[in-house]
């Protein structure tokens, strides 16, 4: 047990970072460690967190999906503008269907046409950004009476004093961890990311596996969009712009390897937590919002350095 604990920082160096950050932050503002604030911090990052869970599958399979930020913009616009017309259930169904289609297109192009995933999703990112812009028709779509709709449950309500969005993040994380860790599909994802050729020789359907990871990433983006829409009850056309970078940052921060095969849901959750606390702490200390990016930059590079050190045993290449 003690040996396990000792090995922990070496295996997951991001833990050290999280602990150091919390210590530093609690010295500056003790309020940061209050339970209330911790929940607030996670709540602010629940949308990013839910998206990051899905992209973790893609990254472990050795691919990358940068289209999710634009996809979120599109879905939020669709859900909000349909909410008053056809009701929240149908609006959510529409959002989920669009997400599945986009995920299937990405997955088909990457898995079956063997195109490079970064480039393909860069293309869909660009296209979806335009779609969000056109779909919002140049106005800020809003739900007319946000408090009257039960749709507010996902983003604005509390269950056992914890925001529902945090519950959703927690449940999604648990389900994702089980799928990745305890199912044949999860093992296939790791195998494909670790060595695709070997996985094919082990009679794993690599193409279907890669395809499914993209659908999962899009589906979880749909869940994130529902939380976002329910919280904001309005749809700026650019609600997801740049989120893909934050999502990737939290995944890499957790130590999931970009080469595929190595990583996990728990790591991504820790990565999201670190970024959430940084953002939250900066707000509490009164730093400008842009300073967060600089801190994120330093943290990501430090984390990657520590992670390579832990794996390689030496800091230099």
């Amino acid at each position: 047990m003690l040996a396990d604990l000792k090995a922990l920082p070496r295996r997951y160096p991001v833990f050290i970072l999280l602990a150091a950050l919390l210590l530093a932050a609690s010295l500056v503002t003790p309020a940061i460690l209050s339970l209330e604030n911790i929940i607030t911090a996670i709540r602010q990052y629940s949308v990013v967190g839910i998206m990051a869970l899905g992209v973790t599958f893609v990254v472990i399979a050795g691919r990358v999906d940068v289209s999710i930020g634009s996809l979120l913009s599109v879905l939020v616009v669709v859900i909000i503008s349909l909410h008053d017309k056809v009701g929240p259930v149908m609006a959510m169904c529409a959002g989920v269907s669009i997400a599945v289609v986009v995920g299937a297109v990405n997955g088909f192009l990457v898995a079956y046409l063997r195109l490079n995933s970064l480039i393909v999703t860069l293309g869909t990112l660009t296209a979806l950004q335009g779609v969000a812009n056109v779909a919002s028709a140049g106005i800020l779509n809003q739900v007319m009476e946000p408090e009257a709709s039960w749709f507010k449950v996902f983003g604005r309500s509390f269950f056992l004093n914890v925001p529902v969005s945090v519950w959703i993040f927690g449940v999604m994380a648990l389900v994702s961890a089980l799928v990745l860790g305890r199912t044949n599909f999860g093992r296939s994802v790791r195998a494909v990311g670790g060595n695709e050729l070997a996985s094919v020789f082990s009679s794993i359907n690599a193409r279907a596996t890669i395809f499914m990871t993209f659908v999962i990433a899009s589906l979880l983006t749909a869940v994130a969009a529902i939380v976002f829409a329910s919280y904001a009850m309005a749809a700026p056309y650019n609600s997801g712009v740049g989120l893909e970078m934050t999502v990737l940052a939290s995944i890499f921060l957790g130590g999931t390897s970009i080469g595929g095969g190595v990583g996990g849901i728990g790591r991504t959750v820790i990565g999201v937590a670190v970024l959430a606390f940084v953002a939250n702490g900066m707000i509490l200390v009164g730093m400008p919002i842009q300073a967060q990016w600089l801190i994120s930059c330093i943290i990501i590079i430090t984390a990657v350095l520590l992670d390579t050190y832990a794996r390689r045993g030496t800091i230099l290449a």
């Binding site: 046409l113 195109l115 979806l128 335009g130 990737l248 400008p288 990501i300």
Partner: protein, 339 residues
């Protein structure tokens, strides 16, 4: 090669000479045009817009087109060697924004041209820093340059504030607007840069080693190539050219804002990849990048001339990228297949 020499040695050589030259031109042309999947795209787009809008082929619009191509073009030309050596740089848009603001901020104190030099030097330093992080510590270039992209953008806001600032010296604006023949000065700079980088890749030891490293890094190492030196040089060059883009932005727009260059890295990467350069490294040319930049610019410009809503342009660019790569993959199994 051997068949060609054999043909030449035949008795009926004179009658074959024309045929041989024709064939040489043909293979040369095929080799030239085969460099990039963007050629058919560029030709189709030009024909389409020539038929669709009367104003497309006017001198005014062509010169306009070239000016529009400069910004993404220089970024893409700078990215090409980095891609060929098997790396990526996502920070170029942020670097352009940073150097633009730096130039305008320090220009009143140290004069215009020293400020320009300083901006280029800043770009060089950031590129060097990227390259050293990637090579010395063996980190993944996507992660490193993603972090640097965030960091540099943040520094730009923190150091220079979030307002738009204008230079007190208009000479840069005048210089960029100066016409030399049919071209404005910034277009000439762009073409000179493209020529220089193209020659560097084709005919220098550094260029050849760049291809070798991208093709197979272990093989290059075994052959005694100093991989670190060449990759870091490419990153530094890319950073410097991103700095040049910052200077050009100030020259074209007469102002600088910390949001300058946001999202440009994505457009530049699209241009490089459409131009036939593989993400995995080892192949690609500056000519391909130029053609793809041309195709993207013609697309945006033509769609504007057709009075199509600007918001549709991003959709069209995204769809064209995916479709071109798909067709390229289906027809030739070509560069789009880079894994």
């Amino acid at each position: 090669m051997s068949t060609r020499t054999a043909e030449r040695a035949e008795p009926g050589r004179r009658s074959n000479a024309g045929h041989n030259i024709g064939r040489k031109v043909l293979t040369g042309a095929l080799g030239f045009f085969g460099q990039s999947p963007a050629w058919p795209l560029l030709v189709l787009l030009i024909i389409f817009f020539m038929l669709a809008t009367p104003n497309f082929m006017t001198w005014f619009n062509v010169s306009n087109l070239l000016t529009q191509a400069v910004i993404i073009g220089i970024l893409a030309v700078g990215l090409t060697p980095v891609f060929i050596s098997g790396a990526v740089d996502l920070s170029v848009g942020s670097v352009a924004g940073f150097t633009a603001c730096l130039l305008v901020t320090i220009q009143p104190y140290i004069g215009l041209y020293p400020a320009c030099a300083f901006a280029l030097l800043a770009g060089l330093s950031i590129g060097l820093f990227n390259g050293l992080l990637v090579e010395i510590f063996g980190l993944n270039p996507i992660i490193v340059t993603l972090a640097i992209m965030l960091g540099v953008r943040s520094l730009t806001f923190l150091l220079f504030g979030s307002a738009t600032i204008s230079p007190t010296d208009d000479r840069l604006l005048d210089l960029v607007g100066t016409k030399v023949g049919p071209f404005t000065f910034d277009v000439l700079v762009f073409l000179a840069v493209a020529l220089a980088v193209g020659l560097m890749l084709r005919s220098t030891v550094h260029g050849i080693n760049t291809y070798a490293i991208g093709g197979s890094r272990p093989a290059a190492e075994d052959a005694g190539v100093n991989v670190t030196k060449h990759v870091v040089f490419n990153f530094a060059l890319c950073g410097t050219l991103a700095g040049l883009v910052g200077v050009t932005l100030v020259g074209q727009l007469g102002a600088a804002a910390p949001v300058y260059g946001q999202g440009y890295e994505l457009l530049a990467i699209i241009a490089v990849v459409l131009g036939g350069t593989k993400l995995a490294g080892g192949s690609g040319t500056v000519v391909g990048t130029l053609v793809a930049t041309g195709a993207l610019t013609v697309l945006q410009n033509g769609v504007n001339l057709l009075n199509v809503d600007v918001r549709y342009v991003t959709i069209i660019v995204g769809v064209v990228l995916v479709l071109t790569l798909t067709l390229d993959r289906l027809i030739s199994g070509g560069p789009g297949s880079s894994e």
